[in-house]
C-alpha cells in the first residue's frame, strides 16, 4: 500500500474546497503583486532619477558673482546681464582633489532684429570640445556629432533651435550682429531641457568671434566619494564666484523619494495584513468544518503536533502558491504598470519606473512565506488542541 505524505494530505484537503482555496490564493497573489510592483516602482523610480541626475553631466556650477541665474538675467536684461570670470579659476578648480572633471563655458547673447516682429535674442554657448562632450556624454544626437577642433567655426544645435532655424548637419548658420557663418555639424535629440534651445560652439571660437576671453561658468563633475557640501564651501573661497550645486536638488528629490518609500511601505503592510486575515479566516473555517475528521485522526493516533503540521502546511501551500502567482503577475505586468504610473505621475524620470530584480522576487516570496507561517499558527494551534471525544460528540449533537 502506498504511503501518503503529510504534504499530499494537506494538498488534497485544499482541493476539497477548490473555490475557497483558489480565492484565498488569489487574495495572497494580489497582495504579492502589489508588494512586488510597489517596491519595484520604488527602486526603479529612484534608480531612474539618479541616472537622470548623473546624465546632467556636472553636479556643480561656478558662475561669476552677480549672475546667479543666467537664464533669468538674460530674459530680463539681454546680454548686458552677463558677468565674467577669469579662465584661471577653471584651472584652480580642476586641481582640487574632489574634482572628477571640469568644463569651462562662455555664453554670449546677441540681438537678432529678424527674429519675430520686434526682434529677439539669440544665445550661443561656447563649450570646450575636449571636456564638455565627455561630461555630457548622455546628450543624444539626432544627426552628426560634436565639433572636434577648438577654433572651428562649427555649431551643434539643440533640437528646438534646429527646428526653428530649419538647420541640419551640413547647413550654414549666420550669427546675427557678428555676421559670421558657422557650419552645423550636429543636431541633438529633444531632451526636454534647456539644451533644446541652445546653439553650442567651440569655446575658443566664441571667445574669438565675440572678442571675450573670460568665462561665464564652469561645470564641475564631482567625484562620487567627495563631500559635496565641504567642496561647495571650499569653492566659495574663490574670489568673485558663486556656486550652484545639485546637492540641494538631489536632497529635495531624495526627500520626495523617501516620502514615497514610507507611503509604499505602508500600503504594502496594509495589503499584507488584509491577505493575512483572509488566510487565517479561510484556514480557520476549514478547521472548523473538519472538526470530526480531526477528532478521528487524533483518535487513530495522530498527535497534536501532526495535526498542527498538517494545517500549518495547508496555510503555507496557500501562501507560497499565491506568492508565486503574484510575483509572476508583477513581472508580466511590469511594463503596463510602468505606463500607467507614468501617466498618473506629474513628473517621472526618463528611465524605467518599475525595476523588479531577483532579490526583490526572493524577498517577496520570503515575506509571503513568513506571513503564511504566521497566519497558520492560530488555526493550526486551534486544530491541534481539539479533543477527539468533544469533536465527535459535537458532530453527533449537530
Amino acid at each position: 500500500m502506498k504511503k501518503i505524505t503529510v504534504f499530499e494530505v494537506a494538498y488534497k484537503n485544499l482541493l476539497r474546497k477548490k473555490t475557497r482555496s483558489l480565492l484565498t490564493v488569489l487574495g495572497i497573489a494580489m497582495a504579492a503583486w502589489v508588494l512586488v510592483s510597489l517596491f519595484g516602482f520604488n527602486q526603479g523610480y529612484e534608480a531612474s532619477l539618479n541616472k537622470d541626475i548623473d546624465n546632467l553631466g556636472f553636479q556643480m556650477l561656478v558662475v561669476a558673482k552677480g549672475c546667479p541665474y543666467e537664464a533669468a538675467t538674460l530674459m530680463l536684461k539681454g546680454g548686458t546681464g552677463l558677468k565674467y570670470m577669469d579662465p584661471a579659476i577653471a584651472e584652480a578648480v580642476a586641481a582640487e582633489p574632489e574634482v572628477d572633471g571640469v568644463t569651462p563655458m562662455l555664453m554670449q547673447v546677441v540681438f537678432d532684429p529678424n527674429k519675430g516682429e520686434t526682434g529677439g535674442i539669440a544665445a550661443f554657448l561656447g563649450v570646450d570640445p575636449a571636456s564638455y562632450p565627455k561630461l555630457k556624454s548622455a546628450l543624444p544626437f539626432k544627426a552628426g556629432g560634436w565639433f572636434k577642433e577648438p577654433e572651428a567655426l562649427e555649431a551643434v544645435f539643440g533640437y528646438e533651435v534646429a527646428e526653428l532655424e530649419q538647420r541640419e548637419v551640413g547647413d550654414l548658420y549666420l550669427i546675427p550682429e557678428q555676421e559670421v557663418e558657422v557650419k552645423v555639424v550636429g543636431v541633438l535629440e529633444r531632451t526636454g531641457t534647456q539644451d533644446d534651445g541652445t546653439i553650442f560652439l567651440p569655446l575658443r571660437s566664441v571667445q574669438k568671434v565675440f572678442g571675450v576671453q573670460e568665462l561665464t561658468s564652469i561645470g564641475i563633475k564631482v567625484r562620487k566619494d567627495a563631500n559635496m557640501k565641504a567642496f561647495e564651501d571650499k569653492l566659495y573661497k574663490l574670489p568673485d564666484v558663486q556656486v550652484v550645486s545639485l546637492t540641494q536638488v538631489k536632497t529635495t528629490i531624495m526627500t520626495l523619494v523617501s516620502t514615497a518609500r514610507v507611503m509604499v511601505f505602508s500600503i504594502a503592510v496594509i495589503a499584507i495584513l488584509i491577505a493575512m486575515m483572509g488566510v487565517v479566516n479561510t484556514v480557520l473555517m476549514s478547521v472548523m468544518e473538519r472538526r470530526q475528521e480531526i477528532g478521528i485522526l487524533k483518535s487513530m493516533g495522530a498527535l497534536a503536533g501532526d495535526v498542527f503540521k498538517l494545517v500549518w502546511l495547508e496555510t503555507v501551500i496557500l501562501c507560497i502558491s499565491g506568492g508565486l502567482i503574484g510575483t509572476g503577475l508583477a513581472l508580466v505586468t511590469a511594463r503596463l504598470t510602468d505606463v500607467l504610473v507614468r501617466n498618473l505621475l506629474p513628473y517621472s524620470p526618463s528611465g524605467g519606473l518599475v525595476a523588479i530584480d531577483v532579490g526583490l522576487v526572493l524577498v517577496t516570496l520570503g515575506v509571503v512565506t513568513a506571513v503564511g507561517l504566521a497566519s497558520g499558527v492560530y488555526p493550526s494551534w486551534k486544530a491541534a488542541r481539539m479533543r477527539p471525544l468533544d469533536t465527535i460528540r459535537s458532530e453527533e449533537q449537530s
Partner: protein, 231 residues
C-alpha cells in the same frame, strides 16, 4: 478680441506641485548650459490678438485650428501635397507630422479670411512666411515673421511683400519651386528679388508661399483650387 475656439491637441498637462519642483530642480541643474530663449517650435503668430487685428482690422474674432498632414490623411495626403507643390518634403523638419496652426478670421458670424504661416529652410536659417488670405484664398498680406538672411532687411521691406498681394494658388501652380521658373511667365515671374545675391532665400520664400497656399486650400478651402492643378 475674442477667441471663440481653443486649439484641440497639443494641450500640455498642468504641472502639479511635484512636477513643478522637479522641473525647477532640473532647470536649475542645467541652466548654465544654455538659455531657453526659443519658444515651442511651430509656426504660430507671435501675438495672435495683435497680429490678427493688424492684418484684418475689421475682424471681430478668430478661431485657431491645429491640423497636420499625418492626422488628416497620412502618407497618401503627403504624396498629393508634394505633387501639388512640385517638390518633395525634405529634411528633418519638413515632415507629415508638422502641426500647422491656421487662423480663421471672423467678422460677426462671417468668415472674412485666413492667416497661416509655414516654416521654410533658408540659406542661413529658418524662414517663417505668413499669409493673410481672403475667403477665396487670394493673398491680401505677406510677411516674414522670422527670417535669417544676409538680405533680411530687403526681404522684410514692405515693397517686397506687396508684390504678393492679389495672387492665389492658381497663379503659383505655374511656378516650379525646383527650377524657380514660371511656365508661361506670369505674375510670379514679376515678383522681384530684392537682393540677387540671395537667390536661394528668394526662392525659399516663393516655395514657402506656394506650400502655404496648398495647405490652406487642402485644410480650409476644401481644395477649391485643385481644379487649376495640371498635375
Amino acid at each position: 478680441m475674442s477667441q471663440d475656439h481653443r486649439p484641440e491637441p497639443v494641450r500640455p498637462r498642468g504641472p502639479g506641485p511635484k512636477k513643478a519642483l522637479l522641473l525647477a530642480a532640473a532647470g536649475l541643474a542645467v541652466f548654465a548650459a544654455a538659455v531657453a530663449l526659443y519658444a515651442a517650435v511651430g509656426c504660430d503668430l507671435n501675438d495672435p490678438d495683435r497680429d490678427v487685428k493688424r492684418l484684418f482690422p475689421e475682424s471681430t474674432g478668430y478661431k485657431t485650428l491645429y491640423v497636420s498632414i499625418a492626422k488628416r490623411g497620412g502618407e497618401d495626403l503627403l504624396r498629393k501635397i508634394e505633387a501639388r507643390l512640385g517638390d518633395a518634403f525634405k529634411g528633418l523638419f519638413e515632415t507629415a507630422d508638422v502641426p500647422y496652426t491656421m487662423y480663421e478670421i471672423h467678422k460677426g458670424a462671417d468668415v472674412i479670411g485666413y492667416i497661416h504661416g509655414t516654416n521654410q529652410k533658408g540659406t542661413y536659417g529658418g524662414l517663417q512666411v505668413f499669409l493673410a488670405l481672403d475667403p477665396d484664398g487670394v493673398i491680401r498680406g505677406f510677411y516674414f515673421q522670422k527670417l535669417t538672411s544676409r538680405a533680411a532687411k530687403a526681404f522684410r521691406a514692405l515693397a517686397f511683400g506687396e508684390q504678393f498681394r492679389g495672387l492665389s494658388l492658381e497663379d503659383f501652380y505655374r511656378y516650379d519651386v525646383v527650377t524657380g521658373q514660371e511656365d508661361p511667365p506670369g505674375p510670379i515671374s514679376r515678383i522681384k528679388n530684392p537682393d540677387p545675391g540671395s537667390e536661394a532665400d528668394f526662392r525659399a520664400a516663393l516655395r514657402a508661399t506656394k506650400k502655404n497656399l496648398i495647405l490652406v486650400d487642402e485644410f480650409l478651402l476644401g481644395n477649391a483650387h485643385l481644379k487649376f492643378f495640371k498635375g
